[in-house]
Symmetry: D2
């Protein structure tokens, strides 16, 4: 990790004016290792100071993060994403939509590492879907991308719904084998962003039973995250995952009801132990954005509750509870989880990944 | 059915001051066949006019139904449930809690038919759990209860979570056989009633992942409802049902995500046909409280939505949608349903049952 | 009023694809006097069947009214608003935005009566702002518009926030004189429509303290509605109205806390009498969309509650309660009101107005 | 203030098991000057460890504060409030209901200072209602209480609705004179506590227009807080305050729309200056629980928003915005404010007061 005195890693945030971009900016203020030097967005924002780029016609500044906009960030001139020269930075956080990502991210990756919240490349064979602390062995594929001529690489994070699911299944899969998974999600409105997002008229006193493409992503990505590196690609985990994804009137944090069939017999204590000890080695590295536990296990049957648990570990810990047998399956178990979709599930998850890749030497502050 | 000119069935509502009691009273105003003649409640209310019994110390009248309190009902003097003589009425609707129900309902049933929303006797061997239009063959057990010396019988409705599940599984079970069911519910706050119910501090921007005893009830009752009459008892359906029941910030109507494994291959069209034609014979009888369809199937993948669909058919129709294969199971299918927990799932469901039992001669207006 | 056998009034709805347009279409199905024959909208929808015009790329039909889309309406071909020939209909309901309304409505009004929910012409000197039952003497200005060469006229309804305020102030102003008004509104999200409307992320567990231009409209329009016809214009009522308008997490219905200073002494009984008897003559005409009372006065201090009271009289009755003295003012009184912003405050209010204008001969079914 | 090495003040929390009691306990963990040594509650809890006293029959621990229950606190044995000997502590925080407070607080005050959230004694002539930073000159009445034979005193905080109102009016009253105030509140459900509190069925998609006694308290207390010490009592400020208090579906934080008439002409800049500089001297004392500003003034007209602003300054800063003239009044102004009802408006407000009284010598750590 960077010693005091080392230069910080120069970071660009592309898609900086959106909600996820703002969460990156918010989480990177005072970061000990990473420093935002460049911002990029669509042509409409290009050439403006950041604070002006996010100002609405009414004069209102559209800034939606936990802390006020950092003054230094507000003064940075926004560049046009299409024309942005990634060669000038050490790392690009990309949070543009999937369609522009298909063009932009490979161009950036030729010159610099790209960590992305876009889904565009997640299912490419040489692209891992990385969750810090879960599948760090997949990082080797980033090296393979480099060997094919990129100076950088593309490292996408997963769909937010897959994050909590993969984290809680990972230790079960390792110890007992996972044979089959059913998951029903109750997802927060923040997952839909702000343009237009989920409107109040649709979600107050209501549940929307469909989120286009979400179930397919949650299923395929979970299997890839828990898969095995084989040569220069990843063989997905073989267990099937069936999802139903819904939207509920909750601001932040996804709740997921999981029914899982294990390969081998397990008992409650062993499962809880597996969860509680999960990621210990990774956490011991002491990354700035890491929580003190990957998974928090509740005994109280009324937990996890999304409003009370989403911010555990700064939104980086997945809360689980209500572990009990599912007697309709052989070695069947049921539990619920709460995962913060816009922290561990988005910007802060990417930042923690960057901290790890920096420690591993896949990202580094260029000598200038 | 009663012809014009026939005397109406004299009905008592026991537990009349509670939320469910009020829904009975509201739904029975101007009923063509049933007339509320007696009200009973706890000692605290006994001897008061109904309107005074539901008046709070502040002067506010606690009346929570769709229409204003009927003036005639408001004037009825409330009797004490413990001392109530069921011999004076033709039918008792009981909506007391399970504990008092254990004492009260058998006493009433010695003298009159009892239709109950309490869970007290649902799992007794000679007691059916009846859903109108679903398992009317189970009515024969009421006759058996009578043969054992009661003038009446006890006929409980199911737990509100089992209602939509059993209704939508019934035609699948009949046509294709059900092998296994996973269900995750997102339940409305009205299901918890008002004393104290679910408080706003616990449910705004939140999900509560546990409802004590609900999962067990939903599972066992669904299997009993879809079971087979064998002699003087019911052999439950053999398929296992695994549930996760949660509470969400929705006022009325339960949403359930169902994953079901069938015994035999089915295709989408056949399932939809089975749903759409379900209960046709029952509905053809033209009961006053019956909807025009037992099940409404949505094509729009964004439906069913609980706020938009809970009142279909006057809250008596179950809405389903998002039917799609669950490839993790042999002959696996997934769908979502919305069912009105306090209409088909409570008072109005009991009233529709009474209409059927009246037509079948199990309830009748005494000659006086 | 039209007798049986009379031809119905031919109605065009312009802006038919929006939320308000849909409310018009929904409320006009089976209307005894009015029949929708033409639909118009922006160029994007022109030439499509209505049901296709409101279909989203996902296939979902965007229809947000209480009842399902009427099949006949769904088949009508949408015309382009810019090119629509109002000469072919007897009445135009216009619910386009204020900017296009400035061009479209005068063009339509040359050929046919226009009743509009747009604010574009509300403050013009020869344009009345009509609330059925409140200021029917202002109808004379429509006649004046005609005398200036139009075959039709422009008759806008008020801003939804002014509706309940003007209705409840009208009888007070008439009997006791109003000297000063303070009003704080808590407005439903439906008032902001759907594109984009108020997003869930902004309104769950929150209050937005500002609705641009709303306070000015509520104040100026209330004074104009309660003003006096002087020659060919309206002299606004002289009392000042000061408003604070906020948005709250409520789906439908505006709640307003009103503090009013009267010119003359009044007592509680006299105020309640004034409210209860208000509009009796108008209601006696028996228009199809009229409620049985303009104002419903609650004794229960916990009422009016917006969810419980917004649908009184089919959403056409204003509920008031908590009348009590405001001792900080001479002859000061305080009360709260609930008014349905998208029924009496929008489409259904316009339809009731049309029924009155039809009875008064300002609208008529052309002989064809 | 206490120097390092000084003994901490021994604190009892009476009413410790309730929501407010828990907020005291949560806010006092690691407090540099105050240490909780005793807990008291009703007979039902007496004799149990605190963690057992708040455990429900289901096994669930009812702990509702921001941080988990401190382990040391959980082990303290709860005493019975009726029998509690206040002589053993240096300070009592009382958060029992008004009725028991009438008996308990005078008994405690004979032996120790009592800071209370109960309304029981707020309107007594020798009892000030203290808001830290607002009316510290009223502290002299506590001294007078002592001179009448108490070792301690009773110092109640205000009703939570009065807190933000008094804070924002105080600098206006001082500089320009306040002549008349109209206030409409939109209050959070947390203000009603948990037993039973506001139930979800009553507040989802709704507004409750009445909170018994709240308007009278907000009015009378605001005038007393802004009053003048005259001899051994307080002469209330003379301006009248008229309130309408409502409950809205918001978890925490009260929003208030204020219309105020000033004695003397003011301009916008002068008012904003008065607010921004308010309490500077008090804040300069550097109390541990004090925020960096008493009042935060927003320029953005879409602020203050309760969810975004309630936690400003740790919930101790009042946010104001939308300052504009009210032309219906001479020297009239309007604004909105957001105040955290359970932080500055309850436990943390009392703790900040204790810090001040400690610095002033009215509370001290006994030599033991």
């Amino acid at each position: 990790m960077a010693r005091h005195g080392d230069a910080k890693v120069r970071v660009a945030v592309v898609g900086a004016t959106g909600v996820t971009g703002q969460q990156f900016l918010d989480a990177l203020v005072n970061h000990p290792l990473l420093q935002v030097t460049n911002l990029a967005a669509s042509a409409r924002s290009a050439g403006k100071r950041y604070i002006d780029a996010i100002r609405q016609p009414s004069g209102q500044v559209s800034w939606y993060a936990d802390s006020p906009l950092d003054q230094r960030i507000g003064e940075i001139e926004v560049e046009e994403a299409d024309a942005f020269d990634a060669g000038g930075v050490d790392l690009v956080f990309s949070c543009v939509d999937a369609t522009p990502a298909r063009e932009l991210e490979p161009a950036y990756a030729r010159l610099a590492p790209v960590i992305s919240t876009a889904s565009a490349f997640r299912m490419e064979s040489d692209v891992p879907i990385l969750i810090p602390g879960v599948n760090m062995d997949h990082v080797v594929l980033l090296q393979h991308q480099r060997e094919r001529g990129r100076k950088g690489f593309i490292a996408p994070n997963p769909n937010c719904t897959a994050v909590g699911l993969a984290i809680t299944l990972a230790p079960l899969h390792r110890k007992f084998g996972v044979k089959r998974v059913h998951m029903v999600s109750m997802q927060a409105v923040s997952g839909a962003g702000r343009s237009p997002g989920v409107i109040g008229l649709d979600i107050l006193d209501n549940i929307v039973p469909f989120i286009p493409k979400e179930e397919e992503k949650a299923s395929a990505e979970t299997r890839k995250i828990l898969g095995t590196v084989v040569g220069e690609t990843i063989r997905p985990a073989e267990f099937p995952v069936s999802c139903t994804c819904t939207r509920v009137p909750v601001l932040e944090g996804h709740t997921e009801a999981v029914h899982v069939e294990l390969d081998r017999d397990a008992d409650e204590g062993a499962i809880i132990d597996a969860w509680r000890s999960f990621g210990g080695e990774f956490l011991a590295r002491g990354y700035p954005t890491a929580p003190s536990a990957m998974i928090h296990v509740h005994d109280d049957p009324f937990r996890p509750q999304v409003r009370l648990d989403r911010d555990l570990g700064g939104g980086m810990t997945t809360a689980v509870g209500r572990l009990r047998r599912d007697t309709t399956l052989d070695n069947g178990w049921k539990y619920l989880l709460v995962s913060h979709n816009t922290k561990m599930g988005a910007a802060k998850g990417c930042i923690l990944l960057a901290e790890h890749l920096l420690a591993e030497g896949l990202i580094s502050a260029a000598k200038r």
